[in-house]
Symmetry: C2
Subunit: 557 residues, 2 copies
Amino acid sequence: MDADLIRPLIEICGSDSVLHSPEAIELYSRCTIPWSRTCGAVVLPENVDQVSRIVRLCNEFRMPVWTFSRGRNWGYGTVLALQEGALIVILERMNRIHEVDEELCYAVIEPGVSQGQLNEYLKNRGSNLWIDAMDSSPDGSLIGNALDKGVGYTPYGDHFGHLCGLEVVLANGDIVTTGGAPEQCPTRYTYKWGIGPFVDGLFAQSNLGLVTKAGLWLMPKPEAFEMFVLKISNPENLVPVIDAHRQLALRRTVSNCHGFNEFLAVARTFGYPSHRLNGKQFMSEKDIEQFAVEQGLAAWTFIGGVYGSSRQVKAHKSEISEYLSSLGQLIFIDDTLAKRLKSITSGVRKPGVQGAFYKGLKSVAHFFGPTTSIEMMESLLSLYPILKGEPNESILDLAYFKNKEQQPNKNLDPVRDKCGLIWFAPILPARGNEVQSFVQNIKRICAGNKFETPVSLIQLNPRTFLVLIPIIFDRKNPEETRRSQGTYDQLCELLETHHYQQYRCTTPQMEKILECNPSYQHLMKCIKRALDPNHVIAPGRYGVCHTLPINDSDLTR
Amino acid sequence: MDADLIRPLIEICGSDSVLHSPEAIELYSRCTIPWSRTCGAVVLPENVDQVSRIVRLCNEFRMPVWTFSRGRNWGYGTVLALQEGALIVILERMNRIHEVDEELCYAVIEPGVSQGQLNEYLKNRGSNLWIDAMDSSPDGSLIGNALDKGVGYTPYGDHFGHLCGLEVVLANGDIVTTGGAPEQCPTRYTYKWGIGPFVDGLFAQSNLGLVTKAGLWLMPKPEAFEMFVLKISNPENLVPVIDAHRQLALRRTVSNCHGFNEFLAVARTFGYPSHRLNGKQFMSEKDIEQFAVEQGLAAWTFIGGVYGSSRQVKAHKSEISEYLSSLGQLIFIDDTLAKRLKSITSGVRKPGVQGAFYKGLKSVAHFFGPTTSIEMMESLLSLYPILKGEPNESILDLAYFKNKEQQPNKNLDPVRDKCGLIWFAPILPARGNEVQSFVQNIKRICAGNKFETPVSLIQLNPRTFLVLIPIIFDRKNPEETRRSQGTYDQLCELLETHHYQQYRCTTPQMEKILECNPSYQHLMKCIKRALDPNHVIAPGRYGVCHTLPINDSDLTR
């Protein structure tokens, strides 16, 4: 990058905070998707004034600047820009927890605050509040995930819906407090819609400003909690199970349930089972079924949390049983059982004491089905704390599925470790038959490209399911890498045919994401041009740019 | 209005739809607040194309155009514009119900659809869905109220939060579908945040576009429902009651409770008790207390709904009792009891049969307290159907408090009937002591201006209370009318001193509403200028305009 830009960047943030060595550039230009862009430099500001000054500087230099909260957006694009040589701003050093209000149940945090950090902070101060954890790295940013419209498990699972009151740096460097009220307004962090137009949404999946602080609503720790697990052996039951979850969520009995198929469980738990291929290039449905039977895996597993007073949890459980128990094996796990199961599964691992633990294991085997393997039990139990707002790294195992030899014991980092992963993330109405039929189509495309299909089904809200497909590939294999891209492209075409929308998309796909809705695209162009006339903030992110030709219906005519 | 504009308006909408006679102008220039603006003409388009053509026409003529869904915004400004001679567009003839999805629980409606209309429509087709009714006229628009961030009673009480998928006409006449997905996207009405920036908020309390169609999430009829009533005799208990409601709502046991003081109950139920003034200009606290005792009114009454399966309602009721029963007299009313009470209260009214009914009344008197008058019971029971999504006119009685002789038996219309009413609507964090102290300050100002103080406390969300004060005055009395304005102005100053924000404000107050937050005001100005360069859509609505001087930090520099 031009030394004329590096120099003032160092003046603003200090030389420790501006990374532009070839090693740094290489590291920050990595990503897990089969695509590449090389950044110009990386800057790690420490406060909002530095952010404001950086943005003003980029205006002078007409330098594209892409901001990331902590940059753990693996599988979508990590910290890559659409433009070669862009300035990357990572806000991980802005990690102050400004305030936690125990009465009104919110925290005021900066984008560098990770979910692990806030969880620890709350635990250490004996707080009665829980975060809603995402099923992702503890290192991930809470604000970053919320602005990307991420989802968790608890009644606070709609992360963007639980942000309240933003501080935003605009493209001209202005620092704005949203909500229309004065900055010191006592309801700034309690009332989301504010007075006048509600603008916070402009800064979600966007390039219209950089969020530097936000209120985040937290959940008071419930008196009682249980996790339910529904194991569905008959794959045809997926249809009524989705319909039942729609009804349960509409009745506010469950929140954001997560379901997964047997191959997703395999990919979370093991390395790729190449030894079972017998010369084939990928596992057939039949091979997978056989493997699943050995591991005691059901075709589909759904999990969710039940929250409330003891009485309410009991009432909710009755409803859940009524809707679900005829559709599969329904298990409820509370703290006591979770602890017991955990001590047994970890006991079995210890040499010497295995015998006794296997006996214990047998006594609880009926909870999961008698053939369930230790690995599968561990994998399922790793989700239990996440439903209570305690994040862990377990889901990241998935990214290492074809890269097992590179997986460290902790501090997983799929980008650093050169994993190959693309997320395909279409959303569908919560109707069983529609979801099942689309999953079948996805499987057909994956099989046609010699990939197995791990499937997650995540309830974004009572009316909507996210069908989340990780395309996991071996980056060291150029042919497989190309094939992963082809698969993703075909899946995107399938989505277009059905007019489905996506929940999030990969950076390279952003360029055409709004083409399906030209009048909306035009509206965004006009807003972008008004707020960022020099087109410096992340041009093209989520389809928003103003370099498109100006047409007849231009708003400024 | 200029005939050159009337002519093309008639060409677009037909002569029946363009009102510009002196009588029409007079009628549509009425409002309940002490303020006046005379409109130029009124147009009632029937479809989105007409709306689009009207807006294009206004661009040609640089004519301010103020749109209202059905114009029942009494107490805030009805259908008055900030500018003299503006064109008023009322969308009441766009009242199509395009779709009701019984599975995914939503309706797609136009802004002319009233809450009474959708409720009847659902009942007539045997739907299993409920609307969330507002405690206002059945004639009020569902979309209009949602865009004004209105609030109801059920778990769907946050009306803007339950809109999903808008069709908007922009200032250049473009018709835009929000959400970033293609128009025929199957999740258009199920997933609110869409892909890319979420722009729907730009059209709430706004002048950036006209909403012509929207999805509205509906609530599946619960298996069980009960209303709770908490009568609080000791006014000091307001503090713990608010704190308890915060905790209950945070625990998702109650939703948007409504509380009111004794004088609000009086104003809902009777004409102004001038006969009790004994020569004074207004009733003292002591007079009101005495009146309340006679009517069996508590200092404060809180009501709310309990929704769920029979088991869940039972569990929720246990929680409510635990939090509230020590703070006042707690009553639960279900359909059976409501019916019984209703038959008794209406029976008492019938001549001849009164004796038997008074006996019946005595047998249920313990529910409300032995001294509760029939009028007060009726007034409370009128809220019961509203909590079940069935709107009625009962709250409008309030507007006629000083205008009782003008009140018809039905089809209440406070504007037509020249009632005097201003709503003062500050919002506060849900902390008992803060709310109580602010209410005391409000009462002091009202008393200083020789007004009694009716107070509503409405829980906007678990963390926030709306303190809703109707200033009711006799329009025929110029001195009292002036006094009402002075009171409102002083209350707004009080609000500013505390840095509180408002939930909604009156039209004349909009001009300065954003002055407390200049950088936010500037952001809105830039967006307004980009989307409405000729400044035709409702200039100045909720503080958004672009006629402010352009300063140094202008975004387009």
